[in-house]
Symmetry: C2
C-alpha cells in the first residue's frame, strides 16, 4: 500500500501526459494515416529542429571530467553561461550566476521554489486561466494549494491586480495562509506579453498583500509580437516589492526547443530561498552531460544563438499568422497572442446545450473535448485544465507542420459549423 | 522566510558535499601541491576514466527526436536496455522494463520509493553502519524517519536480522509506525557481499514484521571478491516475503563510474508503488540526451560492456589490494571488503582520550576527523556520518591514483603512531 502523500499524487495526475502519448502513438499523416490524431495539445516547438539538430551534432563529446560529481545546483560553467545569456537577452539588471539553481527541468524549478516558500496548506494565488501543470508543479509535492484569481473574458483575460486581491482576501478570510503569487510571463495559455507598468501594478499588490512572486518566464525569448518582454525581476525595480521577493523560473524547453533535456533554472536573490533551493536541487540534479552541452551551446558561438533565437521568433510569428488565418477562414473565434506556442480558442458556441452553469458547463466542456479527441481526432486541452473562469475555451498549439495545423482547424471548423448550425452566429472575439 | 519543510532540509544538510568540494578545490599533487588535500571521502571510481572517455566519444550526437518530450519515467529504449542489462548480469529472474522507473539519479530513486511508501513520521529501519546519505535520500523530502539497527563491531558488523527485529520492536513500542527496511547491498560503507541465505533470513524478518524492503544495489557490478552478488529481488524467491515487497534501486554512478550523469532507476513489481513512482518521476526526470547515450552504451556493443565491467572489477581488486597493503604496512587496522570503493578503518585507538561514552565518543570522533581534515589534509568520512554504532570508524575510499592513496595512508599512519605512542598497541581487526 502506498503512502497517503503518494496516493494524492496518483489521484491528481492530469490527463495531459496520457492524451499526449496516445495522440503521439497514432499521428495523422496525409497519406499514411489520414484518420490519425492531430496533436495540438502539447506546447512543443517543432519549427526549428532543422536548425537545432546540426548544431547539436557539432557539440564536443563528454570528457572524463564531465562524468564526475559536480555541484548539484548546476556547474559553475553552466550557471555562468545562463547568467550571461539572460543578462544579454532579456534582463535589464545583470543576473549573478551565484543566484541561479539549475535543476532537472522547469517543472522541478517550480516545485523547488514552491517547496522553499510553502508548507502544506499554504496558498499560492494564480491569475486564471493559468498554465495547467502549475497544479502539479507548484502544489503536487510542496503540499501548497493553488488559489485561482479568475480574470475576465470580457476584456480578453487581461491581467487584473484586483482579481488577485479579491482571491487573496477571500482565502485569508477562510483561514488559508497565502504565501505567494505565481504567474507565467509571457502568459501560457494566453500568449500575452505583459508591459512593465502592468507587472509593476501586480507587484505592488503582492507587496501590499505580503506575497512572494513566482514568475515562470519559460517563453521569455518566444515573443513574436511587437511588445518587448520585461522580466518580473526587472519590474520589481521601482515597485514597492523588494527584488528578493521575486523568483524567476526559466528553462531550455520552450525558447531553445529542448523539452526532452529537462533543464530548468531558478533565479532568486533571496539568500534563504537560495539556500533552500540548493538543498532541494539535491533531489533533482541535471545530468552533467546535458549541463556541458548547454553551456557549450550558449557560449561557443553567440552569433549562432542570436541567429537561432531570431529565426525561432520569425518562424513562430509565421506559424501564428498561418494558424490564425486558418481559424478565421473556418470561423473559429480566438484571442490575439504575441508570444508562446498557442492560440486561446473561444469554442463557447460549440458547447452542448445547457452548458453555461459552472458544473454543467464543466461537463459540457469535457463532452466537447471528448468529441474533439475521440471523434475528430484533434488533441487540444480544454480551458478546465487551465482553471479557465468559464467553460468553452481551448488552447491550440500551432508550432508544428502547417499542414497538420490546417487539418486540425478544418476538423474544428467542421465541428463548430455542425454545432452552431441551428444557433445564431457568435461574434468573433478578434 | 522559507517554509518549515525547506528549513528542515537546510538544517539537516550533511557536510559531505561541502568537505568534498573544499578538498577538490585544493587537491594534493606530488610536485605542484604536496600540502594539498587528499580526498578519500568521495566514493567515486577514478580507475576507469581511460576506458570510458574514448567510448563516450564514439556515441552518436543527439538527433531531433531526442530533444522532444518523452515519457517522464524513462524512455522505452532506455528501460529496455537497463532491463536487458540487469537480467544478463546480476539477476536470476528477468527484469521487465515495465517495472522500471528511470529518474535523475539513485538519490532520487531512493527519495521516490521512500515517498511512495512512507508518510511523514513513518519509520524506515536501516542496519547500521549505513550509507550516510540515506538520511537525506530516504527521509529528507519524504518526511520518513530512519531507525538505525546497530550491528556489532565484535563480528565485523555482520548483517543480523535480530538487530532489525529489536529496532523495529522498540520503535513500535514507542508508537512509530515502521513501514520499511532499507539496506545497501553490496554494503556501503562495509563492502560486504551478502550471500543469498543471509538476505533470505533478513527478508523473513521483514515479512514477519510486515515491512517492505528497499535494496540499494548501486555496487552490484563492483564486486571484486570471490562471493557472487545476489539481488534482494532474487532472494525474495523462496523467502516468505512476496517479491512485490522488494524494491531495488540501481544506477550508473558506481558500476559505470558515471556519477555526474545522475541516472538512477527503481525496479518494483508492486503495481501501486510503480504508479506512485511514475508520478514522482515527473519531478525529477533524466535528460533525454543522457537517456539516449546510456541506452546506446548498454546495447551498442555488449562485448565492450562486458570487457569494461571485467576491467573495472580487476582494477577495483588491485586498488583494494594496494590500499590494504599500505594500511597494513602503516599499522592501520581495517575490516576486509569484497565490493565497493572503500575500506572501513578502525581508528578507535587514535581517538582522543576519554572517547568511549556515546556523547564524548562522538565529540572525540569529530575531533579526530577535524585533525585529519584540517591538519593532515586527508578527507575521509567518520563513522558518525554512517550511524556507526560506536565512534572511531572511518570510511576510506581507495578508487583513485595509487600514489594519492599511499600518501593518505602515510599521513594516517603518522597520526595513528603519534596518537598511540603512549598506549599499548591495538590488535589489527584483520
Amino acid at each position: 500500500m502506498v503512502s497517503r502523500q503518494a496516493g494524492r499524487l496518483v489521484k491528481a495526475s492530469p490527463p495531459i501526459a496520457a492524451a499526449h502519448f496516445r495522440a503521439e502513438a497514432d499521428p495523422y499523416h496525409p497519406e499514411r494515416n489520414p484518420g490519425g490524431y492531430v496533436n495540438l495539445g502539447t506546447a512543443e516547438n517543432r519549427l526549428v529542429a532543422d536548425l537545432l539538430a546540426p548544431r547539436l551534432a557539432e557539440a564536443p563529446p563528454p570528457d572524463a571530467a564531465t562524468t564526475r560529481y559536480a555541484p548539484l545546483h548546476g556547474s559553475a560553467r553552466l550557471r555562468e553561461a545562463i547568467a550571461g545569456f539572460l543578462s544579454a537577452t532579456s534582463r535589464a539588471t545583470p543576473v549573478d550566476p551565484g543566484h541561479l539553481v539549475v535543476v532537472a527541468g522547469a517543472t522541478t524549478a517550480l516545485d523547488v521554489v514552491a517547496t522553499a516558500l510553502c508548507d502544506p496548506g499554504d496558498g499560492i494565488v494564480v491569475p486564471a486561466p493559468y498554465y495547467g501543470a502549475f497544479d502539479v508543479d507548484l502544489a503536487g509535492r510542496s503540499g501548497a494549494r493553488l488559489l485561482p484569481a479568475p480574470l475576465s473574458p470580457a476584456d480578453g483575460f487581461a491581467l487584473a491586480p484586483d482579481a488577485v486581491r479579491h482571491a487573496v482576501d477571500r482565502a485569508r478570510r477562510d483561514g488559508v495562509p497565502v504565501r505567494a503569487l505565481a504567474l507565467s510571463s509571457p502568459s501560457n495559455p494566453l500568449g500575452q506579453v505583459y508591459p512593465a507598468e502592468v507587472l509593476r501594478r501586480l507587484l505592488a499588490v503582492a507587496a501590499e498583500l505580503d506575497l512572494d512572486v513566482i514568475s515562470d518566464e519559460l517563453y521569455a525569448h518566444s515573443v513574436f509580437g511587437p511588445r518587448r518582454f520585461v522580466s518580473a525581476a526587472d519590474a520589481a525595480t521601482g515597485s514597492p516589492l523588494p527584488p528578493e521577493r521575486v523568483h524567476v523560473v526559466w528553462g531550455f524547453a520552450k525558447d531553445f526547443a529542448l523539452p526532452g533535456f529537462k533543464a530548468g533554472v531558478l533565479h532568486t536573490t533571496a539568500p534563504d530561498v537560495l539556500a533552500a533551493a540548493r538543498e532541494l536541487a539535491y533531489f533533482a540534479p541535471l545530468s552533467t552531460q546535458t549541463q556541458e552541452l548547454l553551456a557549450w551551446l550558449l557560449t561557443d558561438d553567440p552569433g549562432w544563438v542570436a541567429r537561432y533565437l531570431a529565426a525561432g521568433r520569425r518562424r513562430l510569428g509565421a506559424s501564428y499568422t498561418a494558424a490564425t488565418g486558418a481559424l478565421e477562414h473556418h470561423g473559429v473565434p480566438h484571442l490575439p497572442a504575441e508570444a508562446g506556442f498557442s492560440v486561446w480558442l473561444d469554442l463557447r458556441a460549440a458547447l452542448p446545450a445547457g452548458g453555461s452553469g459552472s458544473d454543467t458547463g464543466h461537463a459540457a466542456e469535457q463532452a466537447l473535448w471528448r468529441e474533439l479527441f475521440e471523434n475528430r481526432r484533434v488533441s487540444m486541452l480544454p480551458g478546465g485544465m487551465f482553471a479557465a473562469p468559464e467553460p468553452g475555451w481551448f488552447r491550440m498549439c500551432h508550432t508544428t507542420e502547417p499542414t497538420t495545423v490546417r487539418v486540425a482547424v478544418e476538423r474544428l471548423g467542421g465541428l463548430l459549423a455542425a454545432r452552431t448550425r441551428r444557433r445564431p452566429p457568435t461574434r468573433r472575439t478578434r
